[in-house]
């Protein structure tokens, strides 16, 4: 009989030697984070009045948002363009985006001098502030992501609610609440899905507008009025590579067969998107004549060259080759390069390009800053592994089940 692919909780033991490494890294990060809360931001970071933003913003937030773009790009492809074929990747991408954005929010809070006032933008509005727009969009989008995830929670627990002790009397009530919620969401989910895509387009681009106000403080190679467009295009460009990257890693980690045909199809889309991005990037350079800065060897010119050549041109060429797109190894390498390219771009835009007029020292992230960043990534990986064990996220072949549509519900007629 045929084996249908269906999302289901992964049944594999949680702790492996690899997982233990992440646990240790997470613990180290949390220790440094504790120091930040005791001694202030200056106690852990190398930030100063010349360099107000470091990797906690440039990487944890700006790169974090970009790498979580797989959530909205796959939602657009699967739900809005209605490509049923891709449904297997939507849930993992959604979970990644959910965890990614959650940690973007956490990272922002850690970097705020007054983290306990993080709710202020909700009631204190400043329409001219790009950061305000980014903040509000990210807050709403995070909520939308949680709503999009609710049906998965409902699917897991409907008919299986089993509360401990005295609470068990509420089992029936919770169950019927879940069913009502699920039915309600089934009818209205399209509203949230479209809203998610619109909100993503808005804040992905505005994240680029953030640095425009820095004006001449930013190196001309990156300071351009089309920064928002470049950020949006690169976010769309890195969305699917991130999905491929994760899908291949989790197949390997859980001993599943890689979903190569779906990933190959995704790979077909990546080439053109990267091409458009590259065209805008090069076109912008030609129009503003910033290529003059590439004729001398400086930190900026080298970083720019690495970003463009290794991070965009090489993976673009790779994704155009059918041979690469059909092999998991080729897909993995090409996707990793795209991710590296966006990593370099966000790092360059927020940190390398930022040269204030009175710069007495140069910024390099401290051990504490790196430890916290690595710690957060580790916690994300650990949570992802936990979530896919609890919830039906990853599709794998199962016997004796009929194919079901995405929002169909267990136990209902």
């Amino acid at each position: 009989m045929e084996h249908f692919m269906k999302p289901a909780p992964i049944e594999k033991k949680y702790f492996t030697p690899g997982v233990m490494v992440f646990v240790v890294l997470a613990a180290i990060g949390l220790v440094f984070l504790a120091i930040r809360f005791i001694g202030g931001i200056g106690a852990v970071t190398n930030l100063d009045n010349q360099h107000p933003w470091g990797i906690w913003i440039g990487l944890d937030v700006a790169l974090g948002v970009a790498l979580a773009a797989g959530g909205f790009t796959s939602a657009a492809l699967g739900h809005i363009w209605h490509r049923e074929h891709y449904h297997a990747i939507i849930r993992p991408a959604l979970l990644t985006a959910l965890l990614g954005y959650t940690f973007v929010a956490v990272s922002v809070a850690m970097d705020l001098g007054r983290y306990y006032y993080i709710w202020h933008p909700l009631i204190m509005w400043n329409g001219t502030s790009v950061l305000f727009e980014v903040g509000i969009c990210v807050m709403i989008y995070l909520t939308v992501l949680y709503i999009e995830f609710l049906p998965i929670v409902a699917e897991r627990f409907i008919g299986r609610v089993n509360l401990p002790g005295l609470l068990s009397r509420l089992n029936k009530t919770v169950d019927s609440l879940l069913r009502a919620l699920d039915r309600g969401l089934d009818k209205t989910m399209f509203v949230f899905i479209i809203a998610g895509v619109v909100l993503s387009c808005l804040h992905q681009s505005s994240l680029g507008s953030l640095m425009i106000i820095a004006g001449p403080k930013m190196h001309p190679l990156w300071q351009t009025p089309i920064l928002p467009l470049l950020f949006l295009l690169s976010a769309i460009g890195v969305g699917f590579p991130m999905v491929i990257f994760e899908s291949l890693i989790s197949s390997r980690s859980f001993g599943l067969k890689p979903e190569t045909p779906i990933l190959t199809n995704l790979g077909n889309i990546i080439g053109p998107i990267l091409g458009i991005y590259l065209a805008f990037k090069i076109g912008d350079m030609v129009i503003r004549q910033t290529f003059v800065y590439l004729t001398t060897i400086t930190t900026e010119s080298v970083m720019y060259a690495i970003e463009i050549v290794i991070g965009v041109i090489v993976p673009l060429r790779m994704f155009l080759s059918e041979q690469v797109r059909k092999s998991p190894a080729g897909l993995f390498i090409a996707s990793s390069l795209v991710i590296f390219g966006v990593f370099m771009n966000r790092l360059n835009t927020f940190l390398v390009a930022y040269t204030p007029p009175y710069e007495m020292t140069t910024y390099f992230p401290s051990v504490g800053e790196i430890a916290v960043t690595v710690g957060f990534i580790s916690i994300e990986v650990l949570l992802y592994r936990l979530m896919v064990k609890i919830f039906p996220v990853i599709s794998h072949p199962q016997k004796d089940v009929a194919p079901q549509t995405k929002f169909s519900v267990r136990g209902m007629i």
Partner: protein
């Protein structure tokens, strides 16, 4: 994927659209105060007069409850060996630039917030913690600030400083143009103490007149330029100099207000919320069409 008819789809979309417009149109009303008064005050700094006594540094710290130390200790001129910048412990500092002509005296330059007419910090602040008062002062509100330090990214003069060593309630520190003193009819602390009248406090438009007159009457003493007259849309603090301003480490800035490009892009993307709502409608249309296509395939 989702079960519903076209009617309910359109109805819900319209409702959501209306909800978003209704919700967001409020934020076009600026919450921050940005008053450009005809009579706003300013200070004219004549760097050809300043003797670098640093008394203004002492007076500033004293007026703002910062540890100031002994006023005699400010006579130590060895601090001039290195360029210093205002920070959370000193809202103004004086730097010294030796003259290329050794027979001439060095130039001293007092540095503090310029109190821009179009402040980048005010435009950038996520919670609108900055306001431009009708007196000309750009002031920061501790009640609102969340400590994101975006104002520091935005400021073209690299002025706002942050208290990195504080775990709770770190402040953004910058010159507040002694707003507490001026509202009580007193002079700003630095202007009051200056023994050589290198600092002139007055209405900004009068100060420009004074500056132009000085340049006209003493063409050998001054270069024909007032820093702050037009830079980034004009500033409340303005400088006269006998040397090129770039020699004195002033940043080279254009006449366009610092927040200009960023605000026009922001307003372009959010022009009456038309672009986001159109995108929403467009995606809704695509979704509906694709669904219909699939349905007709099934039938």
């Amino acid at each position: 994927m989702l079960k519903q008819d076209r009617r309910s789809f359109l109805k819900t979309s319209a409702l959501i659209g209306a909800g978003i417009t209704g919700l967001k149109s409020k934020d076009t009303k600026a919450q921050t105060r940005h008053v450009i008064s005809e009579d706003r005050m300013g200070v004219l700094v004549d760097t050809t007069v300043c003797i670098g006594c640093r008394k203004c540094e002492w007076a500033c710290k004293t007026a703002h409850d910062l540890p100031a130390g002994d006023i005699e200790s400010y006579e130590d001129r060895s601090v001039y060996e290195k360029m210093r910048r205002p920070d959370d412990k000193a809202l103004t500092v004086v730097n010294e630039y030796s003259n290329p002509d050794p027979t001439k005296l060095p130039t001293n330059v007092k540095v503090q917030c310029m109190h821009c007419d179009e402040p980048a910090c005010l435009s950038a602040c996520i919670v609108g913690a900055f306001s431009k008062d009708e007196s000309g002062s750009v002031v920061w509100d501790t009640e609102k600030c969340i400590g994101c330090r975006y104002c520091m990214i935005a400021c073209p003069f690299q002025i706002p400083a942050f208290e990195y060593d504080k775990a709770l309630q770190p402040d953004i520190k910058k010159c507040d143009f002694c707003i507490e003193r001026t509202t009580q009819g007193q002079l700003p602390a630095c202007v009051e103490i200056c023994p050589v009248e290198a600092l002139t406090y007055g209405r900004r438009k009068d100060l420009i007149e004074v500056a132009r007159k000085k340049i006209k009457n003493y063409p050998d003493r001054y270069i024909d330029s007032i820093l702050g007259d037009t830079e980034v849309g004009g500033t409340s603090w303005m400088y006269l100099s006998g040397r090129d301003f770039q020699e004195l480490d002033f940043p080279k800035l254009g006449e366009d207000p610092a927040p200009g490009v960023s605000e026009s892009i922001q307003h372009g993307i959010f022009a009456y919320f038309v672009p986001p709502i159109s995108l929403y409608a467009l995606l809704g249309g695509v979704m509906w069409l694709n669904k219909k296509k699939e349905k007709s395939k099934e039938e």
